[in-house]
Symmetry: C2
Subunit: 335 residues, 2 copies
DNA sequence: TTGAAAGCGCTAACAC
DNA sequence: GTGTTAGCGCTTTCAA
């Protein structure tokens, strides 16, 4: 049996207005009546119709989460962080997985005009930064990780610093001919990670060899292929810093195939710290990104915006750390 | 600028009813008028308010997808299949990740009373089958994979047959002392996989050794630990059939640590064919589950139910296949 | 503190 | 084929 607020009004003997007030927790009902009403509601298992609520109050209590590809291991923990925060605050997540298709991405932005959600959380995007800024002018928005514009609220890490530190770490492990496999260079984050690497080499007084830089696409296959290319250069690098873990795993497999011993002859450093990186052999030394926290913080910020709290635009930077594992020397620590 | 149907009515000179009809694609407008109206609507970028639509038509165009834990690799491809199908048919996914918590799971079922979605897709559950059946009497539902009741619409594989075939395959590879690590034994699917294994041994005339069966929980760690136990039995098994890939990977690591050579001295077979299984060394031989197709089919069935088409209850069984890789003899195929 | 009533934007029954 | 209008279930004024 489905009840409406009218049914409850009849059964309790109060008006619909009073029921509504009791439910919303707002002013205007005496405490005893509220208790009485809530008790009955609870017994009946009545839940207000969300569509009606939304129509009236212009709130959907939904958040659209835009994800380039749910199959990508990187996003799992982020979503978890978002989910946890959002549910606690009474919101639901509408999943906006667009399979790396800009067209589908736009489809979701179009849906927003039909008020399917109160705000958008951009976990990733295939659009031009300019387009995202445009959308953000129409709907409340928080962006995670990459895009940059002072007009946006962005939760991110310091990619430059993280890459700088990672390169320094490889140096401390004893590696001297450190190569780099970047991700898609269109992304700001790829450029920042590359820059951190370069400046670190410079500060270390290491020779900078253009041949030691390869441009990948964040996938296993590109790490595998580009590492093979790197290892055929003479002299070959004695370490590779990959811009994500998947490529690092590919690079590992390539090195193993070519007969290099890891980590003695050859060290590998990843980026992200996805679960996978500690499930392969050797376990990958990597830069930990606090993905759960990033998801959580971004959801918090978005909900703050939605509830009218003051949220200043700009970057919200979370800390990264280096997780030494088996793919680098002097760091044969499990976990 | 936000438009309402009234605005459109004024601007075109027609009544709201006509606009509504033009939009819905239903009878009652002449073709030319419909075209004219749709053109203007398109130019203005008007999208009807979903809450109003829902309130009126009792449809949310949302589907609640219940997922035990989005961080579990198994679910990614399923969700992708669901997402693709659902979006094409004009529905959105509400993500019901409940982090393996029965309490949160119930919270979502409660929300359903507030009409947040038109139907439920159960990708997994922590509840008693009986509870799921109960919920299915209240809301349209399709269940993927495990739960069993003739009252439900269930998309699944034949776990018994798949396990039977997998065991046979190990035999054909030359293994004779085949052990088994099952998943949580509360699940029907675990029991079916165990049964397939037992019957296969029986038909093969292999000796059945109770010590060769271990009860895990589908996690890496349990595969690792239980494989170690198994390998200390005298005589140790020469192969393990694990009820999922994560445990198989754990078992692999255990065998490597104990100095067994894979696949020569020791063979390992997984189940599921998650991406991970071909990214580790050695790549794991496994039973492929058509997860994308399972997601897609289940979404199709649910939408059919929602649109009033005839959907018969019972099992919809999809085929599995064995993917030979490097963790078993005579099957050193990369893929 | 409480209730009556307007109206959110839309669909569908009914009238023409 | 087209327009008028009554509500869907709720929140929120306004009046008492």
């Amino acid at each position: 049996m489905k009840y409406t607020i009218k049914d409850i009004a009849k059964m309790t003997g109060y008006s619909v207005a009073t029921i509504s007030r009791a439910l919303s927790g707002k002013e205007g009902v005496s405490e005893e009546k509220r208790k009485e009403i809530l008790k009955i509601i609870d017994q009946l298992g009545y839940i207000p119709n969300q569509s009606a609520r939304r129509l009236r109050s212009k709130e959907t209590k939904n958040i659209l989460v835009m994800i380039p590809d749910i199959e990508n291991y990187f996003y799992n923990k982020l979503i978890k962080g978002i989910e946890t925060e959002v549910r606690e605050k009474g919101y639901n997540i509408i999943l906006g997985d667009f399979s790396d298709s800009q067209e589908i991405e736009e489809e979701y932005y179009r849906m927003m005009k039909g008020q399917i959600a109160d705000g958008i959380l951009i976990v990733g995007s295939m659009s031009q930064p300019q387009r995202i800024v445009e959308v953000s002018r129409q709907f409340p928005m928080v962006v995670i990780s990459d895009y940059f514009s002072d007009e946006l609220v962005t939760v991110c890490i310091d990619n430059f610093k993280a890459a700088y530190d990672a390169t320094m770490f490889l140096y401390k492990c004893g590696y001297r001919r450190i190569a780099k496999i970047t991700g898609k260079i269109g992304a700001v984050l790829s450029r920042d990670r590359l820059k951190g690497y370069r400046i670190a080499l410079e500060n270390l007084g290491l020779e900078f060899d253009e041949r030691y830089i390869k441009y990948g696409d964040f996938k296993y296959e590109s790490g595998y292929r580009l590492a093979k290319e790197l290892l055929k250069i003479s002299p070959p690098p004695d370490a590779i810093f990959c811009s994500n873990d998947e490529m690092a795993i590919g690079a590992c497999d390539a090195a193993k195939e070519l007969g290099f011993s890891i980590p003695e002859e050859f060290g590998i450093m990843g980026f992200d710290d996805i679960e996978l990186s500690s499930m392969v052999t050797p376990k990958i030394t990597t830069v930990h990104q606090p993905r759960y926290e990033m998801g959580k913080l971004s959801a918090q910020l978005l909900i703050n915006i939605l509830t009218g709290e003051e949220v200043s635009k700009g970057k919200y930077i979370l800390d990264t750390s280096i997780i030494p594992r088996e793919s680098t020397k002097n760091a044969n620590i499990t976990k």
